[in-house]
């Protein structure tokens, strides 16, 4: 069995990504991206566009590099000393790894929601208000109140917490915490939201709420989501990208990928033969 998997993956040198990597109206375009941890190459020559106001799902087996790739999009990998990135990553035509691009500004424009809900050990209000406060987005206390309330509303959490905004964010349930993290990200009004398996630690009901939320959010934001669940990718995304061993195997419309994949590896993965 192991031998078969090996022959499926290692033996095959992937030269080109199958499918259409070009979007009609790209918000971000990545070309020939390589990522190295010291000498180990984690991402191999990946090119892909994120279409404006669409949900792009990155799927693939564990360790395929999809999270690493996502974290390159707002330079979260900067904090890792041994991580080196090559290639061109453009946000609205601007190189995000250019010397003049300040990572602080970039991360305000490209927000991120993490796998494990990680609210600050502060009140619900302070959690959401933190981003606007550090960036000076609110002119007055009333402004800030409004930002907090609308962000919580957009994240679908306001009704549940409106009476206890001053209680601690860590006291919420897992699903509520994740929506709080989404509200916190929205409060900075980014252009793009990156989500790294946002529902993997949640139960099915909380997951359904988050998925519904993502569907609504794409009206205003461009979203890239890493997920382990193929059903989830099928439900919420318009474009799906399949990663394998650090390479981008196939990109296409979600319908196409799940009904009629062009690459053998993609088909093997979505039919559950490995992964």
């Amino acid at each position: 069995m192991t031998i078969k998997t090996k022959s499926l993956t290692d033996g095959m040198e992937i030269e080109h990504t199958v499918g259409n990597v070009f979007a009609d109206d790209p918000k971000m375009s990545m070309r020939n991206v390589d990522v190295f941890y010291n000498d180990k190459q984690a991402i191999k020559n990946v090119s892909i566009d994120l279409a404006r106001n669409q949900v792009t799902a990155l799927i693939g087996p564990s360790g395929c590099g999809k999270s690493t790739f996502l974290r390159c999009l707002n330079r979260m990998n900067d904090t890792i000393d041994i991580c080196k990135i090559k290639g061109s990553l453009l946000l609205d035509g601007e190189d995000i790894y250019h010397k003049k691009m300040d990572p602080v500004l970039l991360r305000a424009r490209v927000g991120m929601v993490f796998q494990k809900p990680n609210p600050f050990p502060k009140s619900i209000y302070d959690n959401v208000a933190y981003g606007p406060r550090i960036h000076g987005l609110a002119a007055s206390k009333d402004d800030l109140d409004e930002i907090v309330v609308t962000s919580l509303q957009k994240a679908g959490l306001y009704k549940e917490v409106k009476d206890r905004l001053s209680s601690s964010g860590t006291g919420l349930s897992g699903g509520q915490q994740q929506r709080l993290c989404i509200a916190r990200t929205i409060a900075v009004s980014p252009e793009i939201i990156l989500m790294d398996e946002p529902a993997s630690a949640l139960d099915p009901i909380a997951t359904a709420i988050i998925e519904e939320l993502i569907d609504e959010l794409k009206e205003k934001y461009t979203i890239a989501i890493v997920t382990h669940s193929m059903q989830q990718a099928a439900r919420i995304s318009q474009t799906t990208a399949y990663f394998h061993m650090g390479s981008l195997i196939e990109v296409g419309s979600t319908d196409h990928i799940f009904t009629n994949p062009s690459h053998q590896l993609t088909e093997n993965y979505i039919t559950g033969r490995f992964g």
Partner: protein
């Protein structure tokens, strides 16, 4: 077909029996495991009770020894403010003497003669001297203060409570049989004291002087105030230097510094520094701070700097451990929102690490509080009578004061030593409680 069935049944049976024996085996080992756990719990309880017992014995011992030091005996004496005894010129009662005359007056003679008046039967010189020994020599200063504050007292006769000498004090505190000599009190003195005691002229009062006076050669006048002030001043310096430097160093090393050979070397050296004997820091203080920089000797400033150097590694090590324990997800959350490194560190990492940092700081300060060795080298073991009021005044600290008193020959200092230890422990407890209070405050914020 039947064969197959049989072997299948056999296998099933075997399986069943092996399962059965497994349960037995687990049951057997369970007994052993449970008794092991019980034994461990018993050991734990024994260890804790032993610790408590030792602490209780220590406190009971110190407490009973210190108890007498908190009380003092006073003797009521009828003092006559006689102009002749005071040798104030002119002796005419109509003329008010000026301040100069009052300052130069002979108060010791006044005390003596007033006392002789109370015991008219005493005539021999030696007896008179013994009589005078009943009172603390501070008596004359007390009446000087009274007269200079209120010259109208001249010519009057007033009953005053005066402090008894430490030997008299010890005599009353021991289980004395009235009129019998004991310790440094001879038969005659014992008789006089019995007279005084019977006439109600002896009173036991709470020893306020212990908390308001500085060190003294006379045990009845010696107090902890000077050493306490010295300790407070020194601790302020230690806290002001070692806390900000220690925490910044820890934050820089954990959050900003690249991980390479240099930072590894620094880490090893900080750990080594924590193990350096404290007297070495004293030598450094003497050689560098006093000899090169010319800072004053015996000053709490120098003591504070020396103790800070000793405390720094403890604070840095504890702070680093506590900063390391802050979950990375919090850093990522803040970075992901666009917080700068500085904001991540100060607004998220530091508050979450604060409880651990405070624990480390309190351990470091407690260490510094009890330290005498490095202070020997910079002259903070001197006999200092004045209460230090600023950082460059000559000062001593409580552990040094305890050492000095423990070394004194007068028996009354024995109780003072224990009392000073109690004050030191109280100071430590106050420090700990304030740290615990701050800690719980940060922890509450952190939830």
């Amino acid at each position: 077909m039947t064969n197959q069935l049989k072997t299948g049944q056999k296998a099933l049976n075997m399986n069943d029996s092996s399962m059965h024996s497994n349960t037995d085996r687990i049951k057997k080992s369970l007994k052993k495991r449970n008794s092991k756990e019980k034994r461990f719990r018993l050991w734990g309880r024994l260890a804790i009770s032993f610790g408590f017992l030792m602490v209780a014995i220590l406190f009971a011992d110190i407490g009973t020894k210190a108890y007498p030091a908190f009380f003092q005996h006073w003797i009521k004496v009828d003092i006559e403010f006689n102009r002749q005894w005071l040798s104030i010129e002119p002796s005419d009662s109509a003329v008010r003497p000026d301040m100069q005359a009052l300052k130069q007056a002979n108060y010791s003679a006044t005390v003596k003669k007033s006392l002789y008046q109370m015991f008219p039967s005493i005539t021999a010189r030696g007896d008179k001297r013994d009589l005078m020994k009943l009172l603390s020599y501070s008596a004359e200063f007390k009446i000087e203060d009274l007269v200079t504050a209120n010259p109208d007292l001249l010519g009057q006769r007033v009953s005053l409570w005066l402090l008894a000498d430490d030997d008299v004090d010890s005599y009353f505190k021991s289980d004395f049989t009235a009129g019998q000599s004991s310790g440094r009190i001879n038969d005659k003195q014992a008789m006089w004291l019995k007279q005084l005691f019977d006439s109600g002229a002896v009173e036991k009062r709470f020893n306020t002087l212990f908390f308001t006076n500085s060190d003294s050669r006379e045990p009845e006048l010696a107090g902890i105030r000077g050493a306490l002030s010295g300790t407070i001043l020194t601790m302020i310096i230690v806290l002001a230097i070692s806390f900000p430097i220690g925490v910044s160093a820890a934050l820089y090393l954990e959050e900003f510094a690249p991980k390479n050979r240099w930072t590894d070397m620094i880490e090893v050296n900080i750990n080594n520094l924590a193990a350096v004997p404290s007297i070495v820091f004293g030598l450094l203080g003497l050689a560098v701070l006093i000899n090169i920089f010319g800072l004053p000797r015996s000053a709490s400033l120098v003591g504070g700097i020396v103790l800070s150097l000793m405390t720094l590694p403890t604070i840095i090590i504890a702070s680093r451990a506590s900063i390391k324990a802050v979950p990375n997800s919090i850093r990522e959350a803040a970075i992901g929102l666009g917080a700068s490194d500085m904001q991540v560190t100060l607004e998220h990492v530091l508050p979450m690490a604060m409880p651990g940092i405070l624990t480390g700081t309190i351990i470091g300060l407690a260490q510094a509080l009890g330290e005498t060795a490095p202070l020997l080298m910079i002259g903070m073991v001197a006999f200092i009578v004045d209460v230090p009021t600023n950082f460059t005044d000559a000062a001593t600290v409580m552990p040094v004061q305890i050492y000095l008193w423990a070394d004194s020959p007068e028996s009354a200092f024995l109780a003072k030593t224990s009392a000073a230890i109690l004050v030191l422990l109280a100071f430590l407890l106050i420090m700990n409680f304030s740290a615990t209070f701050l800690r719980s405050k940060f922890e509450k914020n952190g939830q």
